[in-house]
């Protein structure tokens, strides 16, 4: 169950150009959070920007909740200026996260760019298992600071693809998908085209796959119907689903990829 918190900022640091690691001290939020869920953060007490910003949970440790965010607009620009000791109005944890129990399947994390971030928290829950991660980013630095370094620290086996070839092979992360074992369970987060390619591959090969979708949100709790994605009903019809409340994590089979 989500709540409203006044969370103390323990640290907010630029881990590489344009990407920030925001660390909140909030024991109860840390206890409630599940991998794949998000926080809805009010970035300004003034009325502009008006809406909260939904940001995925990157890491949870000892009563601290960490976010990794990329500065992309007015909201994240303001959030980038938040300093240690300030209090942030945080709503969460929200949404349906990953099903973190892969059973006897081999968990495979597939992340692109800042989409790697929520896979960190998931990997914490998978600790002790053999986990494979296929990660893609612009370059080595972005891949590492978007969560790659943390996954590496947990002992996750990483295969990388970068735009400039500075880490792993040059190209897209989707070119690494053949490394997913037949008994794998894919957990994917990243840009839309990446998710679509990953889901299509998984569906074609009969591999289980969960995807974390992203959308601009109004309320973040399922009330306003502003952040819809095309899903499939039980009967196979194309229907709108709420990214914030029915997701953000969906089984690839629940999404209409057409």
């Amino acid at each position: 169950m989500a709540e409203l918190f006044q969370a103390r900022v323990l640290r907010n640091s630029e881990v590489c150009p344009g990407i920030f690691n925001l660390v909140l001290e909030e024991v109860r939020l840390a206890a409630l959070a599940q991998p794949g869920q998000f926080l809805n953060i009010r970035v300004s007490a003034a009325n502009s920007p008006l809406l909260r910003r939904p940001l995925s949970i990157h890491w949870v440790e000892e009563g601290r909740v960490e976010i990794l965010f990329q500065v992309v607009g007015q909201g994240t620009e303001i959030l980038a200026r938040v300093r240690t000791g300030e209090m942030l109005d945080v709503q969460g944890p929200l949404g349906r996260g990953f099903d973190p129990d892969p059973g006897d399947r081999t968990p495979v994390l597939v992340g692109g760019g800042i989409g790697i971030a929520p896979l960190g928290f998931l990997a914490q829950h998978l600790e002790g298992r053999k986990v494979l991660a296929l990660l893609g980013a612009r370059n080595r630095e972005v891949l590492g600071c978007s969560g790659g370094t943390r996954l590496d620290g947990l002992g996750v086996a990483i295969r990388a693809a970068t735009d400039d070839g500075s880490l792993g092979q040059q190209g897209l992360v989707t070119e690494l998908l053949s490394e997913v074992p037949a008994n794998g369970l894919i957990y994917a987060c990243g840009p839309g085209p990446m998710l679509r390619a990953v889901a299509r591959y998984a569906l074609e090969k009969g591999i289980r796959c969960q995807v974390s979708l992203e959308e601009h949100m109004g309320c973040g709790v399922g009330a306003c119907l502003g952040c819809m994605c095309r899903g499939l009903s039980a009967a196979g019809e194309s229907v709108y689903k709420r990214v914030c409340a029915d997701g953000p994590v969906f089984d690839a089979r629940e999404v209409d990829w057409r």
């Binding site: 169950m1 989500a2 709540e3 409203l4 009010r42 009325n47 502009s48 920007p49 008006l50 809406l51 909260r52 109005d89 709503q91 959308e215 601009h216 949100m217 109004g218 309320c219 973040g220 709790v221 399922g222 009330a223 306003c224 119907l225 502003g226 952040c227 819809m228 994605c229 229907v239 709108y240 409340a245």
Partner: protein, 307 residues
């Protein structure tokens, strides 16, 4: 009542509300979504998502655009239809210790009549808010809200099909809102609510296209407050029925302004997205304001700014 206590109750066209704070249709889902933050039992009423006779998928995405101190939406009345509403949502709503306002919309006068009679029979609804002002659907909606004759026809159809209090939700997208207000009151409305969203749009300079798939959308949030306040001021003095005021209310100060302008009760809409506890904080803030100003009955605020 003990000394120092403030009587917050108001009567909105036959609806006895324990306090004047309610929520706007379309921003509060079916009551479950905000339950973790604000106990409905502490609110005067809640209005649930606009209902139609049939299931509606709503408009294509994108449906939202954030704007300065506001937002545009073009949801397009996505809703499960009256059958599923009765089967799935109404039983849960009946359990809430608050007044539930059903908001209804339709393609035709008959649709409004049908949904009203269904709600009347179903029970568990305290009042019907008639949406004749949705800017985001091609048929019905705003076209009923901009023509006084059509607005009256819809109101009459609802009136004839229910004993429940009928609140007609007015569009601000008209030259003279008092004309429509008079028409619906003459046709039997017990109260009017205003404003619905103001028609607007946003353009993306990178794609050089409108942001919303529907091109036009409804503006809400603090940006619309002065317009809403003006219209509440005008309508509340033009008609004899109570006004449910809404449009950019985020704080108790906003709510008190609406009451002073002539609103009998207020509704929080987009404000819920910003602060899910806003309705509760507004109840507390109104009470505090009354106490600080020696006001025993919140009703004394209604229209107190009239000259």
């Amino acid at each position: 009542m003990k000394s120092g206590e403030v009587n917050l109750s108001v009567n909105l066209g036959g609806l006895e509300l324990r306090n004047p704070v309610t929520t706007c249709s379309g921003t509060y889902g079916f009551g479950e979504e905000y339950a973790p933050y604000a106990d409905p039992a502490q609110l005067g009423a809640i209005a649930v998502k606009g209902l139609t006779r049939e299931v509606r998928q709503g408009n294509p995405m994108p449906r939202l655009a954030e704007t300065p101190s506001g937002m545009l939406n073009s949801i397009g009345l996505q809703n499960p239809g009256i059958d599923e509403f009765e089967a799935r949502y109404l039983p849960e709503l009946r359990k809430l210790d608050t007044k539930v306002l059903a908001n209804i919309a339709g393609n035709s006068v008959e649709d409004y009549a049908y949904v009203s009679s269904r709600l009347e029979e179903a029970g568990g609804i305290a009042g019907i808010e008639v949406n004749i002002s949705c800017p985001n659907v091609k048929h019905g909606g705003i076209q009923f809200g901009t023509d006084p004759k059509m607005a009256a026809q819809v109101t009459r159809a609802v009136r004839e099909n229910t004993m429940l209090p009928v609140i007609v939700k007015l569009s601000p997208n008209v030259t003279d809102i008092t004309e429509i207000a008079r028409a619906v009151v003459d046709a039997g409305a017990d109260a009017v609510s205003l404003i619905n969203t103001i028609l607007g749009m946003a353009i993306d300079i990178r794609s050089r296209r409108p942001v919303l798939a529907n091109i036009l959308g409804g503006l809400s949030g603090p940006a619309v407050k002065p317009v809403a306040l003006r219209m509440v001021w005008q309508v509340s003095q033009a008609v004899k029925v109570p006004v449910l005021g809404m449009g950019g209310i985020l704080t108790a100060t906003d709510a008190i302004e609406f009451m002073l302008a002539g609103a009998t009760a207020v509704a929080v809409g987009t404000g819920n997205f910003v602060n899910p506890r806003a309705p509760l904080e507004i109840v507390a803030g109104i009470e505090e304001y009354c106490r600080a100003n020696g006001i025993r009955e919140v009703k004394e605020l209604i229209g107190a700014a009239w000259l």
